[in-house]
């Protein structure tokens, strides 16, 4: 098995590097900061994530991992700074990027009182997916839930819910996947399954940004680790820079 060809972060590569993958989205954070009143959830942070990278965000609870993911998903607005997405054709608007975003969080984001099929139908309609029936059947089959498609989600085990959550997140063929503590509550078998799926997604060229406060099989897959502490990047394995690392400076023109 070959190793994934994550685009290298090289000085001067510019927007071309950010747009290198046919399917992955690149992200550029420029002095992004988030405050909740007096609390600084995320201190000014500048980072660049290339298309196809698998980045693990490490840190203790309250270190700012989830805040960074929520800002990336546009579920929260930065107090300062900008987040720019780069697709295959260059910079993408926030609304265009949102179409290519898949999120798997600790909460399942599924309706317990709807069946697995109804949950996917709902999101297929919202994303205007062409031929939703075929897409849903394929996703449920891939998640091993085809036989349970007519069952209410409330009857599912944690592992089954997590598989359905991933099926929902992948339904619209995202180029960027955000995972917030995806292994929480999963048994070793469930974590192993998730690790295999993440590996496949990474090989497909999808950009993955995953937060976790524990190591293990899933974290070991990441090609880059960024450690956050008290809302600040304290370690970035790819740049070897400690606080205040700003690899975005090596992408002239990327912020256009």
């Amino acid at each position: 098995m070959t190793t994934p060809t994550t685009p290298a972060i090289s000085p001067g590569a510019g927007a071309a590097v950010l747009s290198a993958s046919a399917s992955g989205l690149g992200i550029e954070y420029t002095n992004v900061e988030k405050r909740y009143g007096a609390v600084r959830a995320l201190r000014p942070t500048s980072l660049t994530i290339a298309p196809g990278e698998f980045v693990a965000l490490l840190g203790h609870n309250g270190s700012g991992k989830t805040t960074l993911l929520r800002l990336t998903a546009h579920l929260a607005r930065p107090t300062a700074g900008t987040i720019q997405f780069h697709g295959p054709a260059g910079p993408e608007s926030a609304s265009a990027a949102r179409r290519r975003l898949g999120v798997v969080a600790h909460a399942t984001m599924l309706y317990d009182d709807l069946t697995a099929d109804e949950n996917l139908q709902l999101f297929a309609r919202l994303y205007a997916i062409p031929d939703p029936a075929a897409a849903i059947t394929a996703r449920l089959a891939a998640a091993g839930l085809l036989e349970r498609r007519a069952d209410l989600v409330r009857t599912f085990s944690r592992g089954m819910r997590q598989r359905l959550t991933l099926a929902r997140a992948l339904l619209h063929n995202p180029g960027l996947l955000l995972f917030d503590e995806p292994t929480t509550g999963l048994d070793p078998a469930g974590s192993g399954w998730l690790a295999r799926e993440l590996s496949r997604l990474h090989h497909s060229g999808c950009t993955i940004l995953m937060s976790t406060h524990q190591g293990g099989e899933v974290t070991a897959l990441a090609t880059r680790t960024i450690t956050l502490e008290s809302g600040r990047v304290v370690r970035d394995s790819s740049s070897a820079a400690i606080p205040g690392c700003a690899p975005s400076s090596s992408f002239p023109g990327a912020s256009a």
Binding site: M1, P130, A143
Partner: protein, 250 residues
């Protein structure tokens, strides 16, 4: 072997043979609203949490009031509309609280917000479902009111229906907004009525006056009250559409 042998869409399982390269197109606004509405109706039909409890509560209110005094037709025409709209208001407050609370359990509101639909579509879908559920409660309550309070509603039913239409919009639009605002708050059970009832006072007064005018002998056309209700509805709807996006933000 290529390092990128398949698209992201195909990666959940290597056994998946279907490819979805052009993933999505634009979602029409009306489709988005109807999708949210159908989800709400489906959930309610399955759980029967809102309609059963709210209708039972409103019927109990009307029933209890009927024993507090001996309503003759004249007294009923005088006090009945007020009692009726207080019952609608209490029922609405009870019904509106879970509108966004239901989305809290599994953070499904975030999933809706992540989807490429305008936030207004979420608001309108929720508002339409709340309108439908409250209208059903009102439809159940009005015949009971007519029987217990000895009021003849049938001859003026179109007029009463018009008041109910305008009044119900006036209750559910700000109610749905405040339901979203209070969903994250502690003491939300108290907070929603505290925020909502003062704002709904003009609706309550106008709807009561309009209903009383229709039930008077002979019936009158309550032009001023209906204009007030329609005006309040337009203001609430406009403000809701303008503010909803930022209300959902944090």
């Amino acid at each position: 072997m290529s390092s990128r042998p398949q698209s992201a869409a195909d990666s959940l399982s290597s056994s998946s043979s279907t490819s979805f390269t052009s993933s999505t197109s634009s979602t029409p606004f009306v489709t988005s609203v109807l999708t949210i509405l159908s989800k709400e109706i489906r959930t309610e039909l399955r759980t029967r949490e809102l309609l059963v409890t709210t209708a039972a509560f409103a019927l109990t209110v009307v029933f209890m009031f009927s024993f507090s005094f001996d309503p003759t037709s004249a007294e009923s025409r005088r006090y009945g509309p007020g009692l009726l709209w207080i019952a609608f208001l209490f029922a609405g407050t009870l019904m509106l609280e879970p509108a966004f609370l239901r989305e809290q359990a599994n953070d499904t509101l975030s999933a809706l917000r992540l989807s490429p639909i305008p936030p207004t579509a979420i608001l309108l879908g929720k508002t339409l479902s709340n309108f439908l559920f409250l209208a059903i409660t009102e439809a159940l309550l009005i015949p009971v009111f007519a029987v217990f309070y000895n009021v003849s509603v049938l001859p003026v039913l179109p007029g009463i229906a018009l008041v109910c239409l305008l009044g119900t919009i006036g209750i559910v639009v700000p109610g749905t907004i405040f339901s979203a605002v209070t969903a994250h708050a502690r003491m939300r059970e108290l907070l929603l009525p505290l925020l909502l009832l003062p704002i709904l006072t003009p609706i309550l007064i106008a709807a009561t006056e309009a209903t009383a005018a229709f039930l008077s002998d002979p019936p009158e056309w309550p032009a001023m009250a209906l204009k007030l209700l329609a005006g309040a509805d337009i203001i609430f709807l406009t403000a809701a559409c303008l503010l909803f996006d930022s209300l959902l933000e944090e």
